[in-house]
């Protein structure tokens, strides 16, 4: 590598490391694990994120908050256990003197927790998402305390995490570092381009010609024409053909399928139970509805209700056939 490249590259790499490393830290019950902020309440885990939507938009914080004001703490349970528990959330002033190293033992020593409580959300049982909002009036050091109470055995699990609200130091230093990194990067880039241009004056003209040409020669989009008229699926034992209640099969309409289930040697399969799932593999999402088999309408003929496709494109419907205690899954591909 040419010598003139080494110095700016080293500076660039080391400074960007410095820039990003300032975001990696953890203390108390909250840990940043591969960019995901987790809180451990006893042995239960939850995603933990704090937002300051009015000042920081979509930016996420794991514990320390840059601003005072409206802050929304969101817990999304990773463990089914927490969904059934009564979870409460308390924020107290951190007067322990231990700052970011405050732990559960320090909190247990506090005599009157209520006196230094700035926010309290009484216990809620919420299977979906646990969110609380506190409007911090002043900057300072705080401790968050989350307790989860088991509804039956009354066991209590606790998480304690110290944090600051309204700190500003990191922001400024981050900006300064970013400025330095960018100016080095751009002067280096400028130098390279300058050198290039001097040695090859035709370069920019070629680039311009290429740009102009590319404008007038748009690439053709690849066409994929849908064929949605046939519903068929195959597995080791079974063959399935389906007949939709709406023809042509279109998006956004709830409808039914009557499916005929046979073995490979064309014998009707009776008294089976079908379970339906599916989605769009390319979009990584499921169906908009929960279709179910509602009846065996005739020998080997089954009615499935509640099918609906809410996007155009490739869908896969998986039908699990349960017959005499043995499950086998068929996949029906559909281009809508």
């Amino acid at each position: 590598m040419k010598q003139f490249l080494i110095a700016p590259l080293t500076a660039l790499i080391s400074l960007s490391l410095l820039l990003f490393s300032s975001n990696i830290h953890s203390h108390g019950g909250v840990v940043l694990d591969e960019d995901i902020c987790l809180i451990k309440v006893g042995f239960f885990q939850a995603h933990f994120t704090v937002f300051q939507p009015q000042t920081k938009g979509h930016e996420q914080f794991c514990e320390d908050l840059p601003d005072i004001g409206e802050s929304i703490f969101v817990l999304e349970y990773l463990h089914d256990g927490l969904e059934k528990m009564y979870v409460d959330f308390r924020i107290i002033e951190n007067l322990t003197g231990n700052g970011p190293f405050t732990n559960k033992a320090d909190v247990e020593l506090i005599d009157d927790v209520d006196a230094i409580t700035v926010f309290y959300q009484p216990a809620l049982q919420n299977p979906d998402v646990f969110a609380v909002l506190h409007d911090f009036q002043e900057e300072g050091e705080f401790i968050g305390i989350i307790t989860a109470k088991h509804p039956e055995n009354a066991k209590i699990y606790t998480a304690v995490f110290p944090f600051e609200a309204g700190f500003t130091s990191n922001d400024l230093s981050d900006l300064a570092v970013l400025f330095v990194v960018l100016s080095i990067f751009f002067s280096w880039l400028g130098y390279l381009v300058f050198k290039r241009t001097r040695s090859e004056p035709i370069f920019t003209s070629l680039l311009a010609a290429f740009l102009v040409a590319s404008v007038f020669l748009p690439l053709k989009a690849t066409a994929q024409i849908a064929d949605s008229e046939t519903i068929t699926g195959k597995s080791k034992t079974y063959l399935l053909t389906g007949d939709p209640s709406i023809k042509p099969l279109t998006i956004n309409q709830i409808h039914s399928w009557t499916v005929k289930l046979t073995t490979h040697d064309n014998n009707l399969v009776e008294k089976a139970h079908l379970t339906i799932a599916g989605g769009m593999p390319l979009h990584d999402h499921g169906l908009a509805t929960q279709p179910r088999m509602v009846a065996e309408t005739g020998p080997g003929h089954y009615q499935i209700d509640g099918l609906k496709f809410h996007m155009r494109g490739y869908w896969e419907i998986t039908i699990t056939v349960e017959k005499d205690g043995i499950n086998e899954t068929l996949t029906v591909g559909l281009n809508l």
């Binding site: 979906d128 998402v129 004056p201 311009a208 404008v215 748009p218 989009a221 999402h285 908009a288």
Partner: protein, 426 residues
Amino acid sequence: MLINYLVAAALLVVGSFILWFKFIPVNDWSADEIDQIDSLWIERLSLSPPPDRTNLFADNHEAQLLGLQLFFDKRLSANGLISCSSCHQPNLDFTDGQKTSIAIGTSSRNAPSLIGASYSPWFYWDGRKDSQWSQALSPLEDQAEHGGNRVFFANLIASNFDYRKQYEDVFGALPDLGNKNRFPNMIGPFNTPENKKLWANMLASDQEVINTIFANIGKALAAYQRLLTPGPSRFDHFVSLRNSGTGETADPSLTAEESRGLRLFIGKAGCTNCHNGPLFSNNSFHNTGLLSSPGKLPDLGRVAAVNKAKKDPFNCLGAFSNNNNYCMELLFTKSGKELVGAFRTPSLRNLKRSAPYGHAGQQQTLTEVINHYDKAPDAMIGHNEAKPLELWPWERWQLEAFLESLDSPPNIDSRWLAPLPKNKDE
């Protein structure tokens, strides 16, 4: 010498960019693109909304007229100042221009346009209602909206000569509500402790009498709202010309910018994943990572609405539905964590007069909306289904230009856009 080259090259690049951007429309649509475009055409929308079998009077002319009267009538509120049209104003495509609606109180959501609403199987941003007539009942009793109660509304119909006649012409004779021991006067919203107590003390058969009248008020309001359908936009004109073969050489109804925006809309930007079909909506529920409103927790959306819809006494399967046999949407609806923070896809045919956008009016302009989808930030709760688009700035401009070409003036006779001459008792 070098400077001259550079300046010439720069001028050439900028010049050809402007030429391309402003004057060269897409003229090499692929078969798949043409198929996509055709699926968005207004001609692919049935002329009248799909039948609502739960409402026998959905397309009854007398019911439409009664609904029109009720829609604009401020007496249908606790303070005599609020009508449906307070938040669904005809000149704003039946929205109110507010972030979240202001009636007797302030609502937590943005007033959606009613144009084309009847085509959806679900109502409200979170779909907590499964029919338009059932939806129409909730604002009437909501303390932040009309702030009234069903006994009050039934009495209003019964005591007004014109309303009584109109009602009876459609729904049959009104029972006598004069006995105040059986039908006590209720003041204010239905769910106050006093009103709940009065209601609980009524005979079940009398409750049913009131609920039937109340449901019929909703059915008349729905019959009227089913008339609010969208008309063709410039985009539809463009598709018409193409489909008739006359648009092959020149597309006067879409500018170069708009046609490039259309290509992005159905392609790279992935908008038709949700904004599909002739109403530009799949009427399904998606989390797109919008921020919470000031002072509010993030809205749970659909996940909290599924059970409300299922338990609603005025739903498809309930006693006041005229047909319980076509309730597949309600019976097979999905629930669960995928629906945390999910809201119904809005139509894009009424963007010009329906700002601000989003379930709580979080976004003031289309530029903000497009920038949001371009970045697709992580959602505060749940999971943002959108992926970052990384569009070039001019691509965002093209997309916005295309969205503006979708403006569809309502396809409604003007007599349905204002109240009839006043009732004489008013």
